[in-house]
């Protein structure tokens, strides 16, 4: 297996060439011991590929393998039995995966929740809600563990007590972004972190579009929460369509740039996310719609608080704007906002800017 790992971890050599080498020579060990001259005249390797292989032979592969074991990182090449069958079906399946934790269960429906890193509280909130609901209903959630929507979706899944898998654009021993260290640790206990990059590889921009194909490849359904006109989430959605997966997009306000990408997807025929229950019905997991819960809130609120609450939405509003809209004085509005905040109906996201929870 050491030699298989050695072959998989050669930098600057494409997956396709690695696969061809292995198929021609039978296994990794054989590839390791090919003479240089035969490499040069193999017919499909270029000069720089040969250099890369020769250079890779010089490194201490045994030590690296030992580190892999110490860090409890599993090495799963494409020919291994546990290699996800979903991935084998895509055209450019990664040569090997590195896993900390588990790999997605092939018998459970898996849903990817993707979206902008710089999202609005709206996108983040909805991602959290979907993640939680899906996990509660036994689905597994796949995402990129990035800031914004990705992280929120996965955090939601953890809250819902389900399994979630983070696909990274760097080595699995690196937590990127760093502030998600808590999420990174939790995911390893309730699912796993997966990457095609060997351990220690830093998060470079080029790796991120590549990992998107794994996200879409590992999932059966893709939910796009918020995306700009040009965004990585749309790449994932496009790849998913190529791979024949279902894509759903979350509608947002028409004047929000962060929803433009989603609206485009919907126009192109993507499913529309109305509610998590609705999604499960569409996926055939549930067959009846449950009652809406929103009316319940209003009954417990005081009349005046209700006026303020009804002015708030999922996009932040400042106190001054609320004063204009409600006609209350500054004191009254602040007082009611604090009551609502303490009851947990609204949230302050920047100084004196509030949104509904």
């Amino acid at each position: 297996m050491i030699y298989e790992y050695w072959l998989a971890s050669i930098p600057l050599l494409s997956d396709c060439k690695k696969r061809k080498l292995r198929e021609e020579y039978g296994n990794g060990k054989a590839v390791y011991y090919i003479e240089e001259i035969r490499l040069r005249f193999s017919g499909f390797l270029e000069g720089k590929d040969v250099e890369a292989i020769l250079k890779a032979r010089k490194k201490d592969v045994r030590k690296e393998w030992k580190q892999l074991e110490e860090k409890k990182i599993r090495f799963v090449p494409y020919f291994a039995e546990e290699y996800p069958t979903r991935l084998l079906q895509i055209t450019d399946a990664p040569y090997a995966l590195y896993v900390k934790g588990r790999l997605p269960d092939k018998d459970v429906l898996s849903v990817a929740i993707v979206g902008a890193r710089k999202c609005t509280p709206y996108g983040e909130g909805i991602a959290l809600e979907y993640g939680e609901y899906l996990a509660e209903n036994g689905l597994q959630v796949i995402s990129g563990m990035a800031r914004g929507v990705d992280g929120a979706g996965q955090r939601g899944a953890l809250n819902g007590g389900g399994m979630t898998y983070g696909i990274l654009g760097c080595g699995v021993d690196i937590c990127y972004p760093r502030e998600h260290i808590g999420l990174y640790m939790d995911i390893q206990d309730n699912g796993g972190v997966i990457s095609e990059q060997p351990p220690g590889r830093p998060p470079l921009p080029v790796y991120f579009p590549l990992r998107n194909r794994i996200i879409s490849g590992l999932s059966d359904v893709i939910l796009v929460m918020e995306a700009r006109e040009k965004s990585g989430s749309l790449i994932t959605a496009d790849l998913a369509l190529e791979q024949g997966k279902d894509v759903y997009a979350l509608p947002g306000p028409v004047n929000s740039q962060l929803s433009q990408g989603c609206h485009r997807l919907i126009r192109q025929g993507a499913g529309i996310l109305i509610s998590p229950e609705d999604l499960l019905v569409e996926l055939g997991i549930r067959n009846q719609q449950s009652e809406q819960k929103s009316d319940k809130i209003k009954k417990v609120l005081e009349n005046h608080e209700n006026v303020v609450y009804s002015c708030l939405g999922l996009f932040p509003k400042g106190v001054s704007q609320l004063i204009e809209e409600t006609g209350f004085s500054a004191q009254e509005v602040l007082e009611r906002l604090i009551s609502l905040e303490m009851k947990g109906y609204i949230r302050e996201i920047s100084k004196n800017y509030y949104i509904r929870n």
């Binding site: 890193r117 710089k118 999202c119 609005t120 509280p121 800031r147 004047n255 929000s256 740039q257 962060l258 996009f315 932040p316 400042g318 106190v319 001054s320 704007q321 004063i323 204009e324 004085s329 500054a330 004191q331 509005v333 602040l334 007082e335 009611r336 906002l337 604090i338 009551s339 905040e341 303490m342 947990g344 302050e348 996201i349 920047s350 100084k351 004196n352 800017y353």
Partner: protein
């Protein structure tokens, strides 16, 4: 008579030292020698004095003249010793009797033609002279208005050296006043000054929440932070804060005028400061300029803002160490500067008003326009340290201005109405704290909080709930109590009600932990 003494004064920081200017004229090699720990501008006085005396038509004898400025341990600076030196020399030459200068303090700068020029720091010098038991002061004529602010001392104003000599010989009377601040009020200068206040809160359309927060801050002397996008009127609101501050008392006027006098920043004709100062400081300011500095320190911006407002626009652009030096004065209401020359204490009791953007581009949380990443916002906010934030009681958001706000013709509340409420709240605080060190709610310490901000059971329960659900810290809790006390005072309510607490919670400072989540 070959020896004489004239009384003068030197200013060290804001403190006045009485200086004896001694002159001795004796036989020996002709020379003019000055001693007594003099800075170079005082040493240069020898040339000015000799020329001025000659140009006043008095022949200097070819004798040895020694001038001593005592006490020799005090560093003498500035040009205000010219006149006392000249008079000491003339007295020892016997031009006029030395007794005529008894109990008389003299300051003034000489011109080569013998005329007398204005100097700075007249007010504190004259005040000190009165305390030391002087009967009269001879001042440059241009400084008279400043001198007569001091009660119960005779002020003589002179234009040139000849005039003084003739007066001291009893040949001519100098223009003379017995001082008292009433002179000033009688002349109607106060009204005149107030007319210049053209700023008013009725100029600002909308922004109700910010105006209310400002009112609360001023009523309780709380420090204030505005957060808002560029061009949202943060500075506009801050500039109008002096219009709602309670008017200055006479003692406060004098205290502030003293500071400005030392720095030579007052109007010679209307020297008394009747409006509260508003100091807007640019973010390139240095530590020394802010708190005061120099080998012998002179007061800085925070002392100039004493009794008024210090406004720091673009708070995040200030150098971090510069902001940190504000911590001690914000706590104590004064700044203590230590030099090898000694300790200098300058008053610095001001309301701090800061303004900043919520993120580097200023548009957060408008997601369509904000281009900053989370990390950038965190870094931006990280420029302000927690201990500094802890000294700010009230934080208010200044929203982007909508067109309706600009075009609106709604009648806005005038500054005078707001000021009335502020004054009433201050009055209540004064009555409550009586003879205590505390003047406003913002100065309460933890023990006093327990005494004056006691909560009833219902309010107590509200705070407990807020503590848990909003994740307050102990510090935030105390600040909320103080601000709630002020809001209750504005309401003229003895007891802190639930509604007061809730409003105060709304003003709590930005908490970095929750920002941008």
């Amino acid at each position: 008579m070959s020896f004489s003494t004239v009384l003068s004064a030197a200013i060290q920081g804001l403190h006045v030292e009485m200086i004896q200017v001694e002159a001795d004229v004796s036989n020996g090699l002709p020379m003019f020698h000055m001693v007594g720990y003099l800075s170079s501008e005082v040493k240069e006085a020898s040339e000015r004095v000799r020329t001025a005396i000659r140009n006043s038509g008095i022949q200097l004898p070819a004798k040895k003249m020694v001038i001593n400025l005592a006490p020799a341990t005090v560093r003498k600076r500035g040009a205000s010793f010219d006149l006392p030196i000249a008079l000491a020399v003339l007295a020892s030459m016997g031009i006029f009797p030395e007794e005529s200068l008894k109990d008389t303090l003299v300051i003034g700068e000489l011109s080569l033609d013998g005329s007398i020029k204005a100097v700075s720091g007249v007010l504190p010098v004259v005040m000190c002279a009165r305390e030391e038991g002087c009967k009269r002061c001879i001042l440059p004529r241009q400084n008279i208005q400043e001198g007569i602010l001091v009660q119960g001392i005779e002020i003589l104003g002179a234009d040139n050296l000849t005039e003084i000599c003739r007066c001291l010989n009893g040949e001519q009377e100098l223009e003379s006043f017995v001082g008292g601040i009433h002179h000033y009020y009688d002349r109607g200068c106060v009204q005149q000054n107030q007319k210049e206040e053209v700023l008013d809160y009725s100029d600002i359309q909308g922004q109700e929440a910010v105006k209310r927060a400002t009112e609360v801050a001023v009523a309780g002397g709380h420090n204030l932070l505005f957060v808002g996008p560029p061009g949202s009127g943060k500075s506009m609101i801050a500039k109008r804060v002096p219009t709602i501050l309670p008017p200055l008392t006479q003692e406060e006027s004098i205290e502030i005028t003293k500071i400005y006098s030392v720095l030579g920043m007052i109007d010679k004709e209307n020297p008394l400061m009747t409006g509260r100062p508003f100091r807007s400081v640019h973010h390139t300011v240095t530590k020394a300029a802010l708190i005061g500095g120099g080998m012998i320190p002179v007061p800085g911006e925070i002392s100039l803002a004493h009794g008024g407002v210090l406004f720091l626009d673009e708070l995040t652009e200030f150098q971090k160490p510069v902001l940190e030096v504000l911590r001690q004065p914000l706590e104590e209401g004064q700044i203590r500067i230590t030099r090898s020359q000694g300790n200098f204490v300058f008053p610095a009791n001001f309301i701090l008003i800061c303004a900043m953007n919520p993120c580097p581009c200023g548009n957060y949380p408008d997601f369509n326009r904000c281009t900053c990443t989370q990390a950038q916002i965190q870094q931006y906010l990280g420029k302000i340290s927690q201990p500094f934030l802890d000294r700010i009681d009230i934080c208010a958001e200044a929203p982007k201005i909508q067109y309706e706000m600009l075009a609106g013709a709604k009648k806005q509340e005038s500054s005078a109405r707001i000021r009335e409420r502020v004054c009433r709240a201050r009055e209540i605080q004064k009555k409550r704290y009586g003879q205590k060190r505390v003047l406003t709610n913002s100065m309460l310490n933890v023990n006093e909080l327990k005494e004056f901000c006691r909560l009833e059971r219902r309010e107590e329960a509200l705070m407990r709930q807020a503590f848990a659900s909003l994740g307050l810290t102990a510090r935030a809790y105390h600040k909320i109590l103080k601000v709630a006390r002020t809001i209750a005072d504005l309401d003229e309510s003895e007891k802190i009600e639930e509604s007061h607490l809730k409003e105060a919670i709304g003003y709590r400072t930005i908490d970095k932990k929750y920002w941008g989540r």
